[in-house]
């Protein structure tokens, strides 16, 4: 391919890569995307001598005016957005400028500006990237940037050396540069393969720099302004009908969990069933009013913990208790036995709820990682619900967790859960509980329609125990109502729940759960409404369950007296696969790695990495461990390292000496080939140099002779004869007879000798 075309293609692809990488971050609107693509296509056709190019040249003035107006508009919009600065208008301006320069590329300066603009766009992509796709775009960009910069350099050298050096009046010299630019022989496949290899090394080097540069800047200390990987929207209140709109198709990952019990299952079907029945308990609500679930925020309903802190590593264990669970402390500790252990990683949530498989018994919050400036702690809320809170670490006092932060960027913790469907709790009978303890869970709005009360009584007629009532309500709902996310709403009915029960008779999990909760309350069974997620997808690569936003689910908990709170799912079961395709598993694993080891890479991970590498290379098995300082190297290791360093230095120094000896030998060989008179002259000069009267590099032989005469050197007459003969032989190609050389050799010994 012709050099000019190769350079053009590389430049365009580089700009396109930067643009597409930015586009994957989702910050560009569809209009901007389309305009940039169209502009890029136009720019490809706008070569200097083409019709499009000539037209653009004629409009250059107008285009400049448009550019200035665009800049002014961007500045105005950014200024208007203060104090919450929004720089996206500047980003749009940079994209516009890129298209403008691509259309107006006439010389090397234009190309350089194109590369700078594409680099700025890549920077913006780094700032806003939310997924692992950035790495793909970045890798391609590195390779292309290497090629493009080399081609640009060659082009510039061609134009500088083939045009400027020669007289500009010569058309022939300009043709030479054009000819070279159109040559097919400047670069070829081997060139791209070799430089591509260099580019890959640059990529590897970038990764090493990324891993090794210490994360100790202000940004990290203050918790950083790191872009969140992707925020899953989880509402803190429930309005009937919003669930379907928000999260049905949303693939945003909410959490990932490693569950040893499930990972140990060998049978895929058994594992699928187990995963399909995982209820991830999130938020709990106790008040229903006109289609909304809220929290009463009653202190009596507040979640209670017993906290145990490890003095060794400052981790905390929160044992969850319930206001209605009167077990003793021994009983509570015993509850940990036989629980399901989960290692949960919350990716990012708009409301940081501590999710756990129903029913969480204890949360174990890890200590702040070494080198980290922030940590996450648990905060109790209501009805067994807990939330997560980031706080700034106080290096002086690890127990101090008062410096709370408003940002939340994910968390990792351990949870121990028991099966929420089987109570196993020593709860009291409802009649034994104080009224104000259960009021929240029995209350229904006064505006509840009479027919709903009648319906509740009808369904639970003849049922005495709470269990029987629950079964009756759930059975009735599943038999008479269908599941759909395509909600239809009769606006004449004020309460959407009433509309669901009596008019539409179809809805999704929120409706089923709300209906079951209200009907059971009307039947005298305390209930609370739970929002969370159901099931997940198994990632065989990471041996973990991935839960996405489209798995959002609602159910209720009913208080069954001696059983305590029991999970009740009134929604008809939907068959959903718990398996992930191979590609999806790979992407999911990559996203996990991306989030943990790239986006949230911090000093603690650096230390962890160093520890793992040290262990791998056997430097020390305990370079770092919590609570202990680094272990020093052994004497043997020190001697080994010192010996290696000295060996390297010795080899390098010998190499230099050998090289010098070789070049001296070459010089001597070439001298020996010269005439004897030349050797005699050179040796005389060496002798005089040794005596402190060296010939300067800028001195000709006769100038040197003159200087020696002026310095009244002894033997100048002999030196003069020697110089004349040398000059004749060296420059005059005159052969000096051997006897003359012999005579001169005898006389040369007098030169420089004291008289």
């Amino acid at each position: 391919m012709r050099f000019r075309l190769v350079h053009k293609l590389a430049s365009f692809v580089l700009a396109a890569t930067a643009f597409l990488t930015l586009a994957t971050s989702g910050v560009l609107s569809t209009v901007v995307l389309v305009l940039v693509v169209l502009g890029g296509a136009l720019a490809w056709l706008a070569d200097p001598e083409t019709r499009v190019g000539l037209l653009l040249d004629r409009c250059a003035g107008w285009l400049t005016v448009v550019t200035l107006l665009f800049l002014a508009a961007a500045v105005f919009q950014v200024a208007r957005s203060f104090p919450e600065v929004d720089l996206s208008p500047f980003l749009d301006f940079v994209l516009f400028l890129l298209i403008y320069k691509l259309c107006q590329r006439r010389g090397n300066r234009d190309y350089l500006q194109i590369y700078i603009l594409s680099f700025l766009i890549m920077l913006a992509a780094a700032w806003t990237a939310i997924s692992v796709i950035f790495v793909v775009g970045f890798s391609i960009y590195v390779v292309l940037a290497t090629w493009t910069l080399i081609l640009f350099h060659l082009r510039r050298e061609i134009e500088e050396n083939y045009i400027v050096r020669h007289a500009s009046e010569s058309q022939a010299e300009q043709v030479t540069a054009t000819r070279v630019l159109n040559s097919r022989r400047v670069v070829g496949l081997s060139f791209f393969l070799t430089t591509g290899g260099v580019a890959l090394l640059v990529l590897v080097g970038s990764s090493l720099v990324f891993a090794m540069v210490p994360r100790v800047g202000i940004g990290f200390i203050l918790g950083g302004v790191r872009r969140q990987v992707g925020i899953a929207g989880f509402s803190d209140e429930v309005k009937l009908g919003m669930h379907g709109l928000i999260s049905t198709d949303n693939q945003t990952v909410v959490l990932r969990a490693q569950i040893p019990h499930i990972a140990a299952m060998a049978n895929d079907d058994e594992r699928d069933r187990a995963i399909a029945s995982l209820y991830w308990r999130g938020t709990a609500y106790d008040t229903y009013d006109k289609g909304q679930w809220l929290r009463s925020r009653d202190d009596k309903a507040r979640t209670q913990y017993t906290v145990t802190q490890s003095p060794r590593d400052f981790s905390r264990i929160y044992l969850v208790t319930d206001a209605l669970d009167p077990r003793s402390s021994e009983g509570r500790k015993a509850a940990l036995q036989g629980t399901l252990e989960q290692d949960v990683e919350i990716v990012a949530l708009s409301h940081p709820v501590a999710f756990a498989i129903d029913r969480p018994v204890a949360f174990e919050m890890p200590p702040p990682p070494m080198g980290s400036f922030t940590a996450v702690d648990l905060e109790p809320r209501w009805s067994g619900e807990a939330s997560l809170r980031m706080f700034r670490v106080n290096p002086a006092n690890p127990y101090d967790r008062r410096q709370a932060m408003t940002e939340f960027q994910g968390a990792s913790y351990k949870v121990y859960s028991r099966d929420g469907k089987r109570g196993k709790g020593a709860g009291f009978a409802v009649e034994q509980l104080a009224p104000d303890a259960v009021d929240n869970y029995l209350r229904v709005p006064d505006s509840t329609a009479e027919r709903m009360r009648t319906l509740a009584q009808t369904i639970t007629a003849g049922k005495k125990s709470p269990v029987a009532k629950v079964l009756a309500v759930v059975t009735w709902l599943k038999q008479t109502h269908g599941y759909t996310t395509d909600l239809k709403r009769n606006e004449r009915v004020a309460d959407p729940l009433e509309d669901f029960l009596f008019e539409e008779k179809a809805g999704h999990c929120e409706y089923f759960a709300s209906a079951a909760a209200v009907l059971l309350r009307l039947s005298g069974v305390p209930t609370r409404y739970i929002n969370g997620f159901l099931g997940g997808e198994w990632n065989d690569l990471r041996k973990a369950v991935t839960v996405r936003e489209n798995r959002a689910h609602s159910w209720i908990e009913a208080y069954l007296g001696g059983e305590g709170w029991v999970r009740v799912d009134a929604t008809p079961a939907l068959a959903r696969s718990s398996r992930m395709g191979a590609l999806r598993q790979l992407i999911d694993s990559a996203e996990l790695f991306w989030g943990r080891w790239v986006v949230e890479y911090s000093a603690s991970q650096q230390l962890l990495l160093a520890q793992r590498l040290g262990r791998k290379f056997g430097i020390s098995s305990r370079v770092y461990s919590p609570g202990r300082g680094p272990t020093p190297l052994t004497r043997k290791q020190v001697l080994l390292i010192t010996g290696l360093v000295m060996l390297v230095i010795a080899v390098l120094s010998q190499r230099k000496r050998l090289r010098r000896r070789h070049s001296r030998h070459k010089q001597e060989s070439s001298l020996q080939r010269e005439q004897p008179i030349v050797r005699l002259y050179q040796s005389t000069l060496k002798r005089l140099a040794a005596a402190g009267t060296a010939r300067l590099p800028s001195e000709s032989p006769h100038a040197y002779l003159l200087r020696m005469k002026n310095q009244e050197l002894d033997g100048t007459a002999e030196l003069e004869r020697l110089t004349d003969c040398y000059a004749s032989a060296r420059y005059g190609d005159i052969a000096i007879p051997p006897e003359t050389v012999a005579q001169l050799r005898r006389q040369a010994s007098q030169i420089g000798r004291p008289a």
């Binding site: 590195v142 080097g205 720099v209 990324f210 990290f220 005059g732």
Partner: protein
């Protein structure tokens, strides 16, 4: 002496064999890299570290690739046949790439003058494929005659990204012997009444006049003048020399007892130009310049001998007693029938040329 040698060795140890200098783009690149690094560290944005790493590694790659480009290159100078002061000449440079697979891109080659500084011209090679040689040349003009020393060649490149210029100095000493400038002679010759020297020229040497003697055959001699008997006896070709021809021997005498300066240089130029003009017209030309003597010959290599001598001639120097050593006087030698043309430095642009015929018999000493 020992200390100087050791110091030289130590200095050579610390002085790296390669030199590099940041270009303007390289300086901006480094500034941008540092700013980005600062922003990454203090902004707490991990992905900026990747971009920062990319910039750093591109800088390192620039150094590595430029080093690879300069390795295993053989460079030679091709000196022109003749260089005259004030006249441009082409200095040939050839570079052989001894690398097995890797071409060398964007190579610049400059000559280094005696003070190790590059001359103001350079050669550019866009691409030298592996195991190939390329040649080019640069045009240069030296204003002064004499010996000009070149100490070496500097190979430099800005490949691959143009961020820094890496160069290596190769020792390749060469002495350029620059002949005196040539000036037009004809008018001056006419002015000084030497027209007869020009008008009587012919392409073929004249055979008029009395028999003068025998001499060896030279280029341009008429084959009819070959003296076969002597040639057979001697084993070389000899021709008869006629009296007319003997008048065609000219000794150009350059007066060196003068002051150094433009006048002397002009005289040297005129002497050279005169000698060449006469040689071209078939004269036997010799030169006396100070203590240097070039016996008269009529072949073209004689031009080289005369020019070399004139390139190096200096003004006569006084000895310790203040006496200027007399030049080899044209009168102290017997040039058989040679005409002496003495060139004396006068005004800078018009040295004086005086003709003096020196006729002697064939048997004079």
């Amino acid at each position: 002496m020992v200390a100087v040698g050791l110091r030289g060795r130590v200095r050579r140890w610390f002085r790296p064999p390669r030199k590099f200098r940041l270009t303007r783009e390289g300086k901006w690149f480094i500034v941008a890299t540092l700013v980005l690094g600062f922003a990454a560290v203090n902004g707490g944005i991990n992905l900026l570290f990747l971009v920062f790493g990319m910039l750093l590694c591109l800088l390192v790659a620039n150094g590595v690739l430029s080093e690879a480009s300069l390795r295993r290159l053989e460079v030679h100078r091709q000196l022109p046949l003749a260089m005259h002061a004030g006249s441009p000449f082409l200095m040939g440079i050839s570079v052989r790439n001894r690398k097995a697979r890797i071409p060398t891109f964007s190579l610049e080659v400059e000559d280094l003058a005696a003070d190790k500084k590059p001359v103001d011209r350079r050669c550019f090679f866009l691409k030298i494929p592996a195991c190939r040689q390329q040649e080019t040349s640069y045009r240069r003009t030296l204003s002064k005659r004499g010996l000009h020393r070149l100490t070496g060649l500097r190979l430099s490149t800005r490949f691959p990204f143009g961020l820094l210029r890496r160069s290596i100095d190769v020792e390749a000493p060469a002495d350029l012997l620059v002949y005196p400038a040539l000036v037009p002679i004809a008018d001056l010759v006419l002015r000084n009444g030497l027209a007869q020297l020009g008008e009587e020229q012919s392409a073929v040497r004249a055979r008029s006049g009395d028999f003068h003697g025998l001499r060896e055959l030279r280029t341009g001699d008429d084959p009819r003048d070959i003296h076969w008997r002597t040639s057979a006896r001697r084993g070389r070709l000899f021709v008869r020399e006629f009296e007319e021809e003997s008048r065609r021997t000219v000794m150009v005498v350059l007066e060196t007892r003068a002051e150094a300066g433009p006048a002397f240089e002009a005289a040297v130029s005129y002497a050279a130009s005169l000698a060449l003009m006469l040689l071209r017209r078939g004269f036997r030309v010799g030169l006396v310049a100070g203590t240097a003597v070039v016996p008269p010959e009529a072949n073209w290599p004689q031009a080289g001998s005369i020019l070399r001598c004139l390139a190096l001639v200096q003004i006569a120097q006084a000895d310790s007693d203040g006496n200027v050593r007399p030049d080899v006087s044209a009168t102290s030698r017997s040039w058989q029938g040679a005409t002496l043309l003495t060139v004396t430095p006068a005004a800078p642009d018009s040295p004086r040329i005086e003709a003096g015929a020196r006729k002697q018999s064939r048997r004079s000493a």
